[in-house]
Point group: C2
Chain length 338, copies 2
């Protein structure tokens, strides 16, 4: 069996995460038991939620255990199978973690899913037609639930979730305004992704400036917001929200490294009669087939062509992950393993 390189969580961050939090090891891949398959990972997904799980704090998921392989989504190829539902050569998506190979109990529900790469590229199953895409779909359809013509805002607009969000929202006839970091990302958002406008948070780094930019970009106010960041951006959105606006709380990455970030004026949720709802998409698996079907159709129709940032080789994973947390990625962050 092949030698397998893995990244373990070695210790927990104090403040910002660093490369020293991770440890690279090499282990032999164990022999397959009945019901197991051996998967060679082609791509590893890097996602902001991983940072939250590195903390030893109450969160929605069990925290990442110390000394174990960093958890994460993977796509790859079945190299050997002792499960009747899988054969060598099958392309599969799973939660293989930060490693080159995984041995999977393929009979466990949700452990592995065969995918069709005739239309949708394999890597997209970690992004637009995977967890990030379904995340955008859930927040849009199950919480924001917009009407045609309404104005929606999404932060981290050019990332995996944001790029799926705008495609799904434009298909529903909404005006969609993004928030992203830097002129290059903002130009890409409007020129390539279909955003009606995009606000550069680096040029609007405080509440007053962001609120003014939102007012200019959303002349009819904000009816729905998909929050990936938190902090002053959410404060600014609340200032421009219309009556009965909905906020899908997906991530608050701005506060992952240290003290909780307060919400300046929660009374605006009352004044605007808003609904603010947090969610985690893995708790709504019954909706995934419907979401993935729509996302696949958007890809097939050329209406969802997300950009990818691809780091090369497992050893590059920690720096790619830390860079993503700082917004240095441009589109869905992946690590290509072969």
């Amino acid at each position: 069996m092949p030698l397998n390189h893995q990244f373990l969580l070695d210790n927990r961050p104090e403040g910002a995460a660093t490369a020293d939090n991770f440890r690279l090891v090499a282990v032999d891949t164990p022999a397959l038991q009945d019901g197991q398959v051996l998967v060679r990972h082609h791509y590893l997904s890097l996602d902001p939620y991983m940072r939250g799980r590195m903390n030893d704090a109450k969160s929605y998921a069990a925290c990442q255990p110390l000394g174990e392989v960093m958890q994460g989504g993977t796509v790859g190829e079945v190299m050997e199978s002792r499960h009747p539902g899988y054969a060598a050569g099958d392309k599969v998506v799973g939660m293989g973690g930060w490693q080159e190979w995984s041995v999977v109990d393929a009979g466990v529900p949700g452990s592995l899913r065969k995918v069709d790469t005739s239309v949708v590229p394999l890597s997209y199953y970690l992004g637009a037609v995977g967890m990030p895409g379904v995340t955008a779909w859930y927040g849009l359809t199950q919480i924001i639930d917009p009407k045609p013509g309404q104005t929606l805002v999404v932060s981290a607009a050019t990332g995996a979730v944001g790029s799926a969000f705008v495609a799904l929202a434009k298909a529903r006839g909404c005006r969609v305004v993004g928030i992203a970091g830097g002129p290059e990302k903002c130009a890409y958002a409007t020129d390539e992704l279909g955003f009606d406008a995009c606000i550069d948070h680096r040029q609007n780094g405080d509440l007053k400036s962001m609120a003014q930019a939102l007012k200019a970009a959303c002349p009819d106010g904000i009816d729905g917001h998909f929050e990936n960041v938190g902090g002053y951006i959410l404060d600014a959105v609340l200032l421009r929200a219309n009556a009965f606006a909905r906020v899908a709380l997906c991530g608050m990455i701005a506060g992952y490294d240290g003290q909780p970030l307060p919400l300046a004026n929660p009374a605006l949720m009352l004044i605007n009669r808003m609904r603010v709802e947090g969610f985690i998409v893995s708790e709504h698996m019954q909706l995934w087939p419907q979401a993935l079907a729509e996302l696949s159709q958007l890809v097939a129709a050329g209406k969802l062509r997300p950009r990818e940032s691809v780091a090369q080789g497992l050893a590059a994973a920690p720096e790619a992950f830390l860079g993503m947390l700082k917004g240095r990625n441009f589109g869905k962050q992946l690590v290509k393993l072969i």
Copy 2:
């Protein structure tokens, strides 16, 4: 026509409201036109929402205009009628404002409603079987939507909304924990109103202490919360909230006098996958008949017997109102006018 005493809003508060914000005047009641009725007010309702409307700020309702009669709910008796639907002697509830008499265009929908005082005392139509009761009903049934056995928390527990909330929630098989100010109110909450426990916020005046008190009173965590106050109480509730907890945001009186009160850790809404929703009950008039029917039945069955704080005479209205904002009332605050 009778001489009518009125309180006008003379100027807006800077910081805390004071008696000088109001001005007492005497005017002649105008002669009735066709379609109008003359109502003599028996009781005037004093409610926390009035404080918010005294500010010249964006809010859910138009702010109280300067130089005009303070708006507010009233119950009284029709003394003279030029509308075919009303006759002298009818008992009615309306928005007569801080004055002794009102002339009402009775054909305007929602302007006046005849009430039955055979079982429900007239004053209750301003509290348990009126706007505050429907407010409790809406937040409980339309936002919190509890299951039997779940734990619910309500702040301002012994007020008009809190006392209706506990009766409605106990009827649904919930554990209900109140938050009130002082040992007398807390004893009344558990001994008379049916709360399973009541926390004295004067004895738990900071986040840590309140969170510990909530942990003790809610050993299974908090599934639903009805917020009348805001500030550190809401912060503490978020720390003890269960997954998928719901918060009905009804009032945030703690922040009415000055700077907005921040929410310390909004990421808890995400971590707990909570739904937080603001509402104003007057925007859901279609649900009032259903709510009022249940509230009337609870009163008739002796399961909802709210306490009232009754000030005597219109001149006492400002001091009674300011005292209520400081929590000096005990139960529904009314002004008895005759």
